[in-house]
Symmetry: D2
Subunit: 365 residues, 4 copies
């Protein structure tokens, strides 16, 4: 994919929050998305970004963003934006994003609010870019010229589906998935988890997380229906998730056991081969942020580890290790996903790159 | 159970190690076991205990132990001991414990070496004290007068079987168990886990741990055969474990999904009731260290948590929370066990109390 | 000190907060203070304590407190209380405590608000119980019959003065103190420090903390004036503090360098002897909560350590180690204080015990 | 400084250790140093580097290094190297480095062994490159043609002298320095600090560290004597250090109080200005790895923080915050240095760049 001829103007909703900060950090180094407007709550609006924000990234605030004035999250203030990335909290995301959609703007949202909408694609960029096929129907339904909304998935779901997708492609339907997560504190935003709650501790509960994993997996791994007007959500596959918070800064680790419909199941080496050779559509298109490998196989017996492996593929790869037989199901393994890059802001950006490649962004029109 | 008339003399093997330190810490407050000899490797032998040991408990070295001379782990030096607790490392435990057994001594071992021996009971004190029934056969086989050896279980297995036992008793055979652990660093001894390996990290592998959970569970939950000469190891039940090390000092957390043979399965409330009302034999006997409740049910949605719940029942209770339906199996829940108390030294001590109550310790004879 | 003939009724202000929880945890095991009323903000008032509180102690809520109804912090609701312990936040403590004082109630406050009041004693129980001598003047000034208010010190100050007191007593005025702290997260209350702020991190700033250490030390180490109407605050001694938050649950560690006025200074061994042989008035009186030793000297080169030493003396002792010559001043050492026991709630309770012993509590009158 | 015409061949001693891994990680991206030989202990020699090493960097082993055969640390095996970087442990570094020097090789050592040698420069690259002036004398003394040895400083010392240097330059002699460190676990190598020793803990002792800070500071801040045959070690300045290990992965934080000889002392703003405007010789020369700013001033009241600021200047800058008046001395502040980059391997590399710029590397000769 060659670079676009013009820079695309990007707006960021929820720019002062954790996901918003990650959007800014990633976009400040992007070759063709330029940060044009940063939006946040009324409380921050009117202030310089650097002053309105408790910046928590480990790299400094990009100079060009630091003195931008924060805007309210109103569509008319983002009218010039070619793409809008939303890192809004779910308590406000639904209404605001809908108002942006109605204003014919293009929204890539990290919020959960529209993920279950039957005409909103839920896209993990290294899994199901084909779900963009529904955009014409979505536009027509809302009488839009160029606007649309696409969501990325929950962070833990993201890691899981990247691994399940090539297995389903290669070996047929997956009957059962039991997954246990060990999730990083950055997933809870800022101030998020109190240190007294997580230090020397595990919290075996994350509100709504298990339900998201159990539902979103089925939508993402399903396909678009024949008339491109809806999604076939997997009904055969059952997913059971147990989600835990552990004292790790970034990177969600997941232990997964799966059972295939087709028996006998593939061998461990066949599974490793399927994962190792997987190339997603976003990589084939040559998207700028697509990782060299969507899945990195580690053959060390004690990997993946979040501190050492979360930045693999600049945070866009999922690392898989310990692929082995399961006494109960067919196979089990451990995976690691960077929860704030591929699991959040990075997915939004890579989804936007895919949309551009697919001709869905009507730049400057 | 009334107190014995005399104090019992206790010896400790591997007394300078982490498990040995916990034995000392627990025994120093015990009403009728008195620490009589402390044994360790040749390197430590002859030194005062306080000098030979890098003490890592959060309470001071008991005064009466600090200036004991450390002995070599030779049976003749422990001849006066009524009971011997072994916290030896597995690389030396096999041979040393066997030599103690042959010398007609009573050994309660935390090491893995004899756990798979067909005539050695593997006993979790709040689960299967009935396995002591094999002791007469073990003695006869080795021509012993009063000696025998009993092992306690792996720390993670211990937590699991305490919960599975009442479920099996109440609802019949368990067909499948998928368990994922988040284990504390104290389980690896000292120096054990390097801080660079676990800080801001998860290590998704603990050598030999998954195999122990998958085997020991079946031996412990099985029963003694009719002639009291061997164990019926469960063959129907399948266990699949994924074991992880997390940055927690003490307390292993486990996410468990189980499937019963008998369908329809019990309801969530029936399961909670079975767990909550469970009373083990060691409690019925009235053993000193037996917890008031073998299983403590937490109804808070975000418990158990290791930092807050590991000391429940002074470390002898298992805490269970989040009992709920599983999309794939019948039920899932989270459990917490104190890995160095019930999961190690505490089991040895409580097992010795049971043995005394059952008349298996021939004190002073 | 023999036990009082009657139980004393204790009220707790700010009972749902971190300090309040510690008061409850300590008082529930107290031989003669009985928890009678628990007070908190209007938001919690009227609810059962167990429901109103996010309990974060590692032992369960005492049964007798769990179902008490939380009261508003109004003096008329605490009229029956013989003593009142205040764990209120400083934003409300000033006004509420004053209203309790005016109602002729006895208040032991952990809040900073009255610490600089010229007629309010600032008492660390193992340092300056003699400051209770000002109570008659305080009562007379406010026309009180039995009420008074006493505050305990800031947590970091507390550890420091316990060590400086015997040195000043033995070797004369201290000219200069440079102290750097490494403070536990529990000192910030709950939710307090965000995990993203402290995990894999040090925060080199705690608002107002350095000023407290630099002032309170001078008031505590000074004496009551000749007419018992005010305090002689040290003017010769200079204190410079640098306060840091580190990833530790409980226990403040402090590195201290000091210079004496009198030269040549005492030797290291003389200093160790002075610290080791120190017995405070609260110990001499035989107060129930007074530790066996106010200062525990560790001669291990790598102690004190918060995880291993914070519970020394049940949290009422200060542990001192690494006493050695300083290249710049006379001597330097490291100390450790349990910030939520001696450094907060425990000081309040021990102060109340001292007041009782001194006849300042007019029980039932 | 323009790039050299040829690539320089670099050898690494102790290549499998923590410092060696950092050398490899930094050199693999270096424009003109090429890794040519990797040396380690006899145990590793003959194996492929990737197999011989427990790689702990967060980026993968550079491909070109992974399959190099590890060599023994013998001079004849490094004869082709233009520069040699030593990350050897101090128990072997002395002898091996001396043998390399005698073989007329150029050694930049991170080990402590030669730091106190009266003819070996102890150079922090953003502080005292002028100490290279002694190299001709060192060569002449050892009858060398092109070889020499230079050491970099202890990690904590490094951070301190970078800040003291501009203050001494601007305001004259410093009379007294009291410094307290909070040091990262990576400074102890691998396996280094046991997790049970540092989790939820502070260790107030690091063997030999305080002595290094108190001595090395005086050598580095002194100058070369008139005949360029020795160093004038500061005799007026007194340094007192208290060193602590805290649970942080990378980045040493230091609280510093200083007193100037010349009174009245500079104002806080004058000090900030002196630090902020400081440009070291390595920056003036334009060395590749020299940071844009040797010292970065943070004006936020709660910075520097290791997790957020350690990578400033790619780990080659020292970040200073909280510059303020000291009650006892003249001024106090907090500094942060990346202990394994500027504080170790990075200093060695930058020192080599300076040596090249000064014409001290006789490449290919």
């Amino acid at each position: 994919m060659s670079l676009p001829e013009v820079q695309l103007k990007a707006g960021i909703l929820g720019a002062t929050g954790t996901v918003g900060q990650r959007f800014i950090s990633l976009l400040s180094k992007h070759p063709y998305f330029t940060i044009h407007v940063v939006g946040a709550s009324l409380r921050s609006a009117g202030q310089e970004y650097a002053k309105a924000t408790r910046w928590k990234m480990t790299t400094p605030i990009p100079a060009e963003v630091g003195n931008m004035l924060v805007q309210e999250c109103k569509p008319e203030l983002f009218r010039e934006c070619d793409v809008i990335f939303s890192g809004l909290d779910s308590d406000v995301a639904g209404e605001i994003e809908t108002s942006f959609l109605k204003a014919d703007l293009v929204v890539f949202s990290n919020a959960k609010n529209h993920r279950r909408d039957p005409v909103v694609p839920l896209i993990v960029p290294t899994v199901n870019p084909s779900h963009f096929d529904l955009i014409p129907h979505q536009r027509s339904l809302h009488s839009l010229h160029k606007g649309f909304i696409v969501t990325n998935a929950n962070c833990s779901t993201t890691g899981l589906v990247v691994v399940l997708k090539p297995l389903q492609d290669a070996f047929g339907p997956i009957e059962a998935v039991i997954v246990q997560t060990m999730q990083a504190i950055s997933g809870a935003g800022y101030p998020g988890v109190a240190s007294l709650d997580i230090y020397d501790n595990v919290v075996p509960f994350i509100s709504g997380e298990e339900e998201k994993m159990e539902y979103e997996t089925l939508k993402i791994l399903g396909d678009v229906n024949e008339t491109a007007t809806g999604f076939n959500i997997l009904s055969f596959t059952k997913v059971s998730a147990s989600c835990n918070r552990v004292p790790v800064i970034d990177g969600h680790t997941e232990c997964v056991s799966i059972k295939f419909k087709n028996q006998p199941p593939p061998s461990v080496e066949q599974i490793i081969h399927a994962l190792d050779s997987y190339v997603s559509e976003s990589q084939q298109i040559g998207c700028h942020s697509a990782p060299e490998k969507a899945i990195i196989i580690s053959r060390d017996q004690d990997r993946p580890q979040p501190r050492l492996d979360r930045d693999n593929g600049d945070g866009y790869s999922v690392t898989v290790g310990r692929v082995r037989k399961c006494n109960v199901f067919d196979v089990k393994f451990t995976l690691l996903v960077h929860n704030t890059i591929l699991g959040a802001a990075g997915s939004g950006i890579l989804n936007a790159e895919i949309a551009l490649a697919k001709g869905l962004l009507k730049v400057g029109s």
